[in-house]
């Protein structure tokens, strides 16, 4: 334990989360043997009972509640009716060609919350903010998301509702998420759902199921194991009788080329 004092000095950076994974492991080992650091850390953790209350009360910005709650609930897993409707179908249907690193042209690097913020849909202000921030964040290696593709889906049929939707394909670490955000959707009856499809050649693969709120809004985040932009040529949303459809049975209401 020659290094004892030096290890004790890591406590500030440990508490504030500045240690690398290796340093953190070193300090956590040290904690096992150093009662003084354990006591100090317990005390610092206990500050959460007091110090946050020293914050000047500020009124949250207009509309924050709606934005936050819609982002929170947009995160919700798609509603599943049975095991056969597992949304990982696509993820399991791996591409047998090329490496996943071979991706298409323009990529934007976005902060971690990007996918969620993007699900706020028409909020052009936030969207621009994110793109601005992205340049500053390119050097941060931690949990940055990469927007691989962003498309707007167009209505395919003649419906009174005139639905709209966007799809963001975002890489987070080794995962690729497809974030769908739709609005002006028509009402659903009984077990009916909206189903997202990724279409490879002629064959559609299930890519997330969602229902619409009373106001006609719906969102789903769907995880792919990998994404190869050449694999999929279209994304579409159909109105299905239930969440079991393995191929589109109902009307396709929105679609876009990928």
């Amino acid at each position: 334990m020659a290094n004892h004092g030096a290890d004790c000095d890591l406590i500030i950076d440990y508490f504030n989360g500045h240690l690398s994974r290796e340093e953190k492991a070193v300090f956590e080992d040290h904690l096992e043997n150093c009662a003084e650091c354990r006591a100090e850390l317990a005390e610092w953790n206990g500050l959460i009972e007091d110090l946050p209350y020293d914050s000047e009360p500020v009124t949250p910005p207009e509309g924050m509640k709606e934005r936050v709650l819609s982002a929170v609930f947009a995160e919700e897993e798609p509603k599943q009716h049975s095991a056969s409707a597992e949304p990982t179908l696509i993820g399991n249907a791996k591409t047998n060609s090329s490496s996943p690193s071979k991706r298409s042209s323009a990529k934007w690097v976005l902060p971690a919350a990007a996918a969620l913020l993007l699900s706020l849909g028409g909020n052009a202000f936030l969207y621009n903010e994110l793109q601005q921030q992205s340049t500053e964040l390119t050097q941060s290696q931690e949990t940055v998301d990469e927007l691989l593709q962003y498309v707007t889906l167009s209505p395919t049929g003649e419906s009174d509702e005139n639905p709209t939707a966007s799809a963001s394909i975002v890489r987070t670490g080794s995962q690729v998420n497809v974030v769908i955000n739709a609005s002006s959707l028509g009402p659903l009856a009984n077990d009916e759902v909206y189903q997202v499809w990724l279409i490879e050649g002629e064959s559609p693969k299930r890519a997330g199921t969602f229902i619409a709120s009373e106001s006609g809004a719906g969102a789903v985040v769907f995880t792919l194991d990998e994404f190869n932009s050449e694999q999929w040529n279209q994304i579409a949303i159909s109105h299905e009788p239930d969440a079991q459809s393995e191929t589109p049975e109902g009307e396709v209401i929105l679609a876009s080329e990928l």
Binding site: I12, G17, I48, E49, D50, D54, S55, P60, V72, E129
Partner: protein
């Protein structure tokens, strides 16, 4: 406290009860937002922090149980850690000193301010105000800005080896004042 207890609401959140999440949101948004703003000094970042905290809560990425202490403390710890994450990502930006409170200051009371929370705020703020200026400063850098050991040393002009002792001393005084003020309030 009126209405259901935090723990009851939390258990309903685990059952995917959106209304329960909304109740917790209403109960804590102002405290969490104010704390996030105090840490980030940026309205956009503070809102991102609030959003992330509630997403974590909704998706049970970290779980609360009563052995972990008060629910509010658990939620605030999650808030601080989330804010620290965001601050680290921003750390390439120049730091802004935050001594004078700015235009977001707000004194109007809202009905959602719990009495308990209000008393606590008064007690803590009175106690912090009793600290010497340099003690408040080191707590600001250490706790609210979550700076590295090295940056705290740099910003305060204290040698690296002295920083921890000064933090400890400031916190010891704070504890004493909280105890004194608390005693006054209860007597």
């Amino acid at each position: 406290m009126s209405g259901p207890q935090d723990i009851e609401l939390y258990q309903q959140v685990l059952q995917r009860d959106k209304n329960a999440l909304e109740s917790l949101y209403d109960r804590y948004q102002k405290l969490i937002y104010s704390f996030s703003y105090r840490m980030t000094k940026d309205t956009t970042l503070a809102e991102e922090v609030v959003q992330e905290v509630f997403i974590k809560l909704w998706n049970s990425h970290s779980s609360y149980s009563e052995e972990k202490g008060k629910f509010s403390s658990w939620l605030l710890t999650m808030t601080r850690n989330t804010a620290l994450d965001h601050l680290r990502k921003q750390s390439s930006k120049p730091a802004v000193e935050f001594e004078e409170r700015d235009s977001l200051r707000e004194t109007a009371e809202t009905p959602s301010d719990l009495l308990e929370e209000k008393e606590k705020k008064l007690l803590i703020r009175r106690s912090v105000q009793k600290l010497k200026k340099e003690q408040r400063h080191i707590i600001e850098l250490f706790y609210f800005q979550g700076l590295t050991h090295e940056k705290i040393s740099h910003r305060t002009g204290l040698p690296l080896g002295t920083v921890k002792g000064r933090i400890r001393l400031a916190l010891k005084h704070l504890k004493t004042y909280i105890h004194e003020e608390g005693g006054k309030a209860n007597g």
